[in-house]
């Protein structure tokens, strides 16, 4: 090595450019490992869970709580990417993730996931309380061990049961503020739990070959597309009363009820349109309806929790209480 050469110059020359580039992930690659889009949903629902709670923590403790709930979700995302790297590499939707694309080594994803999991649970416990910390720890365990390592590759009910992991954040947010879990927290959990299957099954309908290529027993693979369309309809209908029930709890109100009624009608209408179609129709317009319903389902969840936020604001101003 000459005076002007650095170790990386030598490494580049000896190992080949691509190998070394892969061994040098940027900060953005690690951020991507935390599934920032999923985190945004977690932050929003946990934030709503915190705001609608009857008691509140001081501002810095509240901020710390939501930050570490989000990082806990990110940690479980990193652990999921570590465990699922083999099947992620086979699916078009996930092949460019940091681990299957080789930008981050599996061990790095595992290390980051474990470290962030431990840190987020401890910090939530310190900032809020042990109930919230315990719920966050259980959420991470449920997503990584029960869903990713267990259900995902075993049963077409993977999304139904695994959906619980994504449903916990508002409950954790509520627990962070109150130190307990109540009917309202359970109903917020139930809304996301019931929403998850039709949301992912709509995605599975237009991500045609991804899951079968990877051998993941999604409903579309094990029971066929016609059955999946029926399942979407059933779960969307079952979601409606759960979402409406939330409107009659202490955190609901007239604004929420109107918004929820319209959203549920829209979602059920979308599910009915999916049910009426067969594969030939879907192929003909490149799954236009299925894609629309998938996008609408995202809007549905944001709007449902947005309406809860609006109710909390109105309650705070002395309006809107039932």
């Amino acid at each position: 090595m000459t005076d002007t050469q650095t170790f990386s110059d030598v490494a580049l020359a000896e190992a080949g450019r691509d190998d070394v580039m892969a061994a040098e992930p940027g900060f953005g690659d690690f951020v991507e490992l935390l599934k920032p889009r999923v985190m945004s949903l977690v932050i929003f629902t946990a934030f709503v869970g915190m705001i609608v709670a009857p008691t509140h923590l001081p501002p810095v403790a509240s901020f710390t709580a939501i930050l570490f709930i989000a990082l806990g979700a990110g940690a479980s995302g990193a652990l999921n990417m570590w465990w699922d790297a083999d099947i992620d590499a086979l699916m078009r939707r996930t092949a460019k993730r940091p681990v299957p694309s080789g930008r981050i080594q599996p061990g790095e994803a595992l290390g980051l996931g474990v470290a962030l999991s431990v840190a987020s649970v401890i910090m939530l416990g310190l900032a809020a309380n042990l109930v919230a910390a315990g719920l966050l720890a259980f959420t991470i365990f449920f997503y990584v061990v029960v869903y990713s390592m267990g259900l995902k590759r075993l049963t077409p009910q993977n999304i139904v049961i695994g959906g619980a992991a994504g449903a916990f954040p508002p409950m954790v947010g509520w627990a962070a503020m109150t130190g307990s879990v109540s009917l309202e927290a359970f109903l917020m959990f139930a809304v996301i739990f019931m929403w998850t299957p039709p949301h992912f099954w709509a995605l599975a309908l237009f991500m045609k070959d991804d899951y079968s290529k990877a051998g993941v027993p999604m409903l579309t693979v094990t029971h066929g597309r016609k059955s999946t369309r029926r399942h979407i309809m059933v779960y969307t209908v079952l979601l409606a009363p759960v979402a409406m029930a939330l409107g009659f709890s202490s955190i609901g109100g007239p604004v929420y009820l109107v918004v929820a009624a319209l959203l549920n009608l829209g979602f059920i209408f979308g599910a009915w349109r999916i049910l009426r179609r067969d594969e030939a129709m879907a192929e003909a317009d490149k799954y236009k309806v299925e894609k629309k319903v998938f996008t609408f389902s995202l809007l549905y969840l944001f709007a449902i929790f947005g309406a809860l936020l609006a109710e909390a604001t109105l309650h705070g101003l002395g309006y809107g209480a039932l």
Binding site: S8, L12, G26, P59, A61, T64
Partner: protein, 71 residues
């Protein structure tokens, strides 16, 4: 002295180092602010009941004997 053109690999390494540095600094600041808030809001710290420790309402914590007299 020679100036070498920066390779993409250096950019990635820099982004990672700066990112980790900023994250650690943010963690330290957050821990400090959280501590200040917990102390000023009188969060009960039952594990620390030494001399001079006070309850959230400002009254001094009286240490209790671990073994009662006569036992």
């Amino acid at each position: 002295m020679t100036f070498k053109p920066e390779h993409e690999i250096h950019g990635r390494r820099l982004s990672r180092n700066v990112g980790v540095g900023v994250a650690l600094a943010a963690f330290v600041i957050l821990s400090f602010l959280l501590t200040v808030e917990k102390v000023t809001h009188g969060d009960p710290m039952h594990a620390i009941q030494g001399k001079g420790a006070v309850n959230p309402d400002g009254t001094p914590i009286v240490a209790q004997p671990l073994v009662k007299d006569g036992n």
